[in-house]
């Protein structure tokens, strides 16, 4: 796949030439693009070949190899459970969902139970806005087939890759589970927020516990999914209301451990991925960008949008998602 930072004019020419593309950028730029085989989402944060940056003049474009075919479509929130019905045999599906939307919540909480969801690589991201614009500007997604912008629901790009190529989806999580027994939690209810948690068999008021323990909420809670480390990031802690909010849901029956401290995000990425990333489709989390002070820093060869959540079958936080097409 080809990853490029293009002007809107360059992106439009590529679309009109029939390319299959995933596009990220400022919504006012995405709105100018012609109809075609593409989906898009709003963000102004990017990891580029020259490092992390904020940009409102270019679009981050991933172009699938020649010979790829795709169908772009929009799914309303009520129809999300039918997501896999558009899967192309042997292909891959990209999905973009606007942050803070009903679709965001529904996919996060219910997505793993959607029929046939895991039958092919499903990846994507949650679109966002500049952090200074949260609450003022609504994140959006774009269905290139119809030339339509949406602030709820999901846009999907079902891609059929050239014969002989095989898609491979994985994640890079720089966080590991910590080993402090007082920082191991389970939750009685599913949701994007929690009032109560269980620690060492005792039910506690979670917000007060987080505050009293001085827990670093820049570190995610990390669950072990049969060997895959899956993060849930803290959004806010309100001891008065007794509520802790997260950027992804917690689930009952899952053990979460506070991540071990992380000194240098960029360096840790580099250590984990080496020189990989060239030609991969990837996205990385806005929290890694902010907490890791990634502006101007490189994440090896991985370039792409910086997002309000990442999707690799399920919603992730503080994680890099990557797709490779191998012969």
């Amino acid at each position: 796949m080809k990853n490029e930072f293009l002007t809107p004019q360059e992106a439009a020419e590529r679309i009109e030439a029939g390319a299959v593309m995933s596009i990220a950028g400022a919504p006012e730029l995405l709105s100018t693009l012609p109809k075609g085989n593409w989906i898009g989402g709003s963000t102004v944060y990017f990891m580029t070949k020259t490092g992390g940056k904020v940009d409102r003049e270019h679009l981050f474009c991933t172009t699938f190899p020649e010979g790829s075919h795709a169908s772009a479509r929009y799914l309303a929130t009520a129809d999300l459970a039918n997501l896999a019905q558009g899967y192309e045999a042997g292909g891959v599906t990209l999905v973009i969902i606007p942050a803070f939307s009903e679709a965001h919540a529904r996919f996060a909480e219910d997505g793993a139970g959607y029929a046939d969801l895991f039958d092919q690589p499903l990846l994507g991201w949650i679109s966002g806005v500049h952090l200074d614009e949260i609450g003022k500007v609504t994140p959006s997604v774009f269905d290139g087939a119809q030339g339509a912008k949406h602030e709820d629901g999901a846009v999907l790009l079902h891609v059929s890759v050239p014969e002989g190529m095989r898609p491979s989806l994985d994640i890079v999580n720089i966080f590991k589970q910590g080993d402090d027994a007082e920082l191991v939690f389970s939750f009685p209810e599913a949701g994007f927020s929690a009032h109560k948690a269980i620690v060492n068999g005792q039910e506690i008021g979670f917000a007060r516990y987080v505050t009293d323990k001085g827990i670093d909420t820049k570190l995610p809670l990390v669950a072990n999914y049969a060997g895959a480390l899956i993060n849930v990031s803290f959004q806010s802690v309100d001891p008065d209301a007794g509520e802790v909010a997260f950027y992804a849901p917690v689930f009952p029956g899952v053990e979460y451990r506070l991540a071990a401290a992380q000194e240098d995000y960029a360096k840790t990425f580099a250590t984990q991925v080496g020189s990989a990333g060239e030609g991969s489709y990837s996205c990385n989390c806005i929290l890694n960008y902010v907490y890791g002070d990634m502006e101007g820093k490189l994440t090896a060869g991985f370039t792409g949008p910086v997002t309000f959540g990442e999707i690799a079958y399920v919603l992730l936080n503080q994680t890099l998602v990557k797709l490779d097409l191998a012969a």
Binding site: F118, D119, L169, Y225, A226, G227, A228, Y313
Partner: protein, 67 residues
């Protein structure tokens, strides 16, 4: 590769990580394990769900066979 009912049940009731498995297999297995712990009466339905997943994902059978 064909996994028996016993193999699938053992995978769901187990706790071993699938370090080398695909992300899909790990997430699916974890979800079924969590459900089996919280709602053990549904085990047979969860085994059927895992069997259906394996039937459509040939790599998953080999990955689960290593447990």
């Amino acid at each position: 590769m064909i996994l028996s009912e016993t193999d699938l049940t053992r995978a769901i009731k187990g706790t071993t990580d699938l370090a080398a498995a695909s992300l899909a297999t790990r997430i699916v297995l974890n979800r079924l394990r969590v459900q089996a712990r919280t709602e053990p009466a549904k085990l047979s339905g969860l085994v059927a769900e895992l069997r259906a997943f394996v039937a459509k994902n040939s790599d998953a059978a080999a990955e689960l066979a290593k447990l």
